[in-house]
Symmetry: C2
Subunit: 164 residues, 2 copies
DNA sequence: TATTGTTATACTCTATAACTATA
DNA sequence: TATAGTTATAGAGTATAACAATA
């Protein structure tokens, strides 16, 4: 259910958090006092902070996911990446193109199979991930700032049971 | 971050839950044991159940929100609806057109201002909301099925503090 | 035949700009 | 001038279909 982050500078929305009409699900009055409603509101705040944390980085959530997947599975090819992300091939291609254009990854020829490329992080890509790790720590702290450590653990446990 | 629900019958995805690359945010390994990650996973399940509940109804989350807003604020006009939903005028227009085409609402002329229409639910629209209320109760029960009543209350309280 | 990467195309949702008719 | 509704257009994201090169 996620919106997307425009990374082109031309769009005036590039600086802000994406909005959808569904964001106003708050107005769904018979959802008051519902768990779905509470989850949504908390997640809206989490996503807002997450997006803010992403800030001016040349990344959208989707590209961030692709980048971290490539980091975890070095020399992955495009078809495998698409399967990992559960998206269509052409969609993966666009993410890869964007990450390559941004200089975070590069395509390398594969020795035994001239059809496929192997994807790997560049030095700037690794630096970006390091930056993200630091930013994420701050994000987590902000998100849980109104909870004690014990309450945070409690919440994590309850959420994991809801998530199934 | 939100995906959308196709309601046209032409799309093969019309029957399924929408997918985005950001859905695979799970792969973001340095989000493990994070509150943001736990929130997202729980919300993904909630949204999945929610979407399943919506089922074959001629509604998307956005249209559902617009419908319930009109129900709560009878004779609202388009510009006000757009402000309530925090969306642009033309976006509201499309929602309204869709809801009117589906027969759930109707535009009525306003006495003192010939520029604006007043929006109100039709009988089928009210019936749809009644159906939704029933379906939502079942949805809530499924979502909290792994929690006791006390745990559910605890979770609601913690979530409301995270939501700020 | 099957797979990898790619291009072409289409669809949904959203937004901004500009128009019209009223106020 | 300002506002309500509308139209036109554009952009981000997604998907499917079809293709060339290679396996």
């Amino acid at each position: 259910m996620h919106a997307t982050m425009p990374t082109t500078k031309k769009t005036s929305a590039a600086a802000g958090k994406p909005r959808t009409a569904a964001d106003a699900l708050d107005r769904f009055d018979f959802q008051s006092d519902s768990l779905g409603y509470a989850l949504r509101r908390a997640q809206v705040r989490a996503y807002g902070l997450f997006f803010e944390m992403l800030g001016a980085l040349e990344l959208s959530p989707a590209r961030l996911t692709a980048l971290s997947t490539i980091a975890m599975e070095t020399d992955i090819n495009q078809a495998t990446l698409a399967r990992r992300l559960n998206i269509a091939g052409p969609s993966a291609l666009k993410l890869i193109d964007a990450l390559e254009d941004a200089g975070f990854i590069r395509r390398k020829d594969v020795a035994n199979d001239r059809r496929s490329y192997s994807l790997a992080l560049t030095a700037p890509g690794k630096a970006m991930l390091d930056t993200l790790r630091a930013n994420l720590a701050a994000y987590e702290a902000r998100l849980a700032s109104r909870l004690t450590a014990a309450e945070r653990e409690q919440l994590l446990a309850l959420l994991s049971r809801v998530a199934s």
